[in-house]
């Protein structure tokens, strides 16, 4: 990570609490329900990517998945998705205020009607979670599926939970 820790935006609520599995969950989202990411449970099946691409890109468009499973050593995987930062770089850098927080899910959502496809958010997100769709030429990011994230719903290993 090139950004220094001091200047990097903090995720909305990365809870230090450990889950019953004694793994540090990354809690994404807030208020009522949160997307809990448990890399230790991840089996690397990439069903989450598939589910996300179905939810957002249509069948077989894995490249449009907004969650990605990264190998992190021998049989270890980390699921990478948007952390819905509190003081988000994407929203800050957007020249047309196309990225705004959904009050209900607390997700940062790109308005496709407002996005002008300049690509700045993609360049600016320190975690690489902003995707620029080459076909629609709009920014895409995890929107927590409006309150029912497909990735969590389909994760067979309960490595992603929305609770």
């Amino acid at each position: 990570m090139c950004a220094s820790p001091a200047s990097s935006p903090r995720p909305a609520s990365v809870s230090p609490a450990w889950s019953g599995e004694k793994a540090p969950p990354l809690v994404v989202g807030a208020v009522e329900r949160t997307l809990v990411v448990m890399p230790r449970r991840c089996i690397g099946c990439r069903t989450c990517e598939l589910a996300c691409s179905f939810a957002h890109g249509g069948p077989g468009r894995m490249a449009r998945a907004r969650i990605r499973v990264h190998p992190a050593g021998e049989k270890r995987f980390v699921q990478i998705t948007c952390l819905q930062c509190e003081n988000a770089a994407c929203a800050k850098v957007c020249p047309v205020q196309a990225i705004a927080r959904d009050e209900r899910t607390r997700a940062l959502v790109v308005s496709l009607e407002r996005c002008v496809g300049c690509g700045l958010c993609e360049a600016a997100c320190p975690f690489g979670h902003m995707h620029f769709d080459r076909e629609t030429r709009r920014a895409e990011k995890c929107d927590l599926c409006g309150g029912n994230p497909a990735c969590a719903a389909f994760c067979p290993a309960k490595a992603l939970e929305y609770r």
Binding site: V78, I80, C115, G117
Partner: protein
């Protein structure tokens, strides 16, 4: 304070001053528009978002993109007149942009076939002169594009036909172009658009392009994020993040 407008006799809530087109689309009405974009001011160029105003002092056919919602406004989105005028305007647009899939799809849907001769080339094939590129470029603060000339000789592009100083090669003009007629070419070496070449700022990890150098400089100067935010490409940032999280987890 929310107001009520009536679209095809259906009551719809709106904020005062909102674009009628935006309100109608939000409520699920299918009104075509090519030159409309929420991020910029509407100029009513394409003349497809026609609705019929049925209340107030000036009833009649009007565009909805640049019409502001007012309490009690009554409009209809479909009538023989609307269909007829919309079809005529679509035909005129189709003559300019016969290669545009968006226009061809609309034409197929409404049964519009061009019967007239195409106007002279607007300098860019398939350009419908809606000025979305111009407006968006201005909204982003680059002001690299302008509309010039009048009548069918109107053109859009960099002023005086010369490479514009303000252009940073961001490509937003192409992103918003309804007919995608703006030619932008990316090679590993550089991006070419509007007669200018832009060098890429490259990922410090893998060397892939991240953003054009000029766009980066503009963002650093105007958008208030630290300089090093633009130094790594999206996949490399992801894998960096995954490594970092892994080190916390295990």
């Amino acid at each position: 304070m929310a107001i009520r407008i009536f679209i095809d006799e259906q009551e719809v809530k709106a904020e005062p001053g909102e674009s009628v087109l935006m309100v109608a689309r939000r409520a699920g009405f299918d009104i075509p528009a090519l030159c409309y974009h929420e991020a910029v001011e509407s100029i009513g160029a394409c003349r497809l978002c026609l609705v019929e105003v049925r209340s107030g002092a000036r009833p009649g056919i009007s565009t909805s993109c640049n019409m502001k919602a007012e309490d009690g406004l009554r409009i209809s989105t479909d009538s023989p007149e609307i269909r007829r005028d919309r079809a005529t305007n679509l035909e005129l647009l189709l003559l300019r942009a016969p290669g545009s899939p968006v226009l061809r799809e609309l034409a197929a849907r409404w049964g519009v076939r061009p019967r007239l001769q195409p106007p002279p080339d607007a300098g860019i094939a398939n350009c419908i002169l809606c000025e979305l590129c111009v407006r968006v470029c201005a909204a982003l603060g680059h002001n690299a594009l302008a509309a010039v000339g009048r009548g069918e000789k109107k053109r859009v592009g960099p002023a005086f036909g010369k490479p514009a100083e303000g252009c940073v090669g961001c490509g937003a003009c192409l992103s918003v172009c309804p007919t995608r007629c703006i030619v932008m070419k990316d090679t590993p070496a550089a991006r070419t658009i509007w007669g200018q070449s832009f060098e890429f700022h490259r990922c410090q990890v893998c060397g892939q392009p991240v953003i054009t150098e000029k766009h980066r400089a503009f963002a650093i100067a105007k958008r208030g994020l630290p300089e090093d935010y633009y130094d790594v490409c999206e996949p490399c940032k992801q894998s960096q993040a995954s490594q970092r999280f892994a080190s916390v987890v295990w």
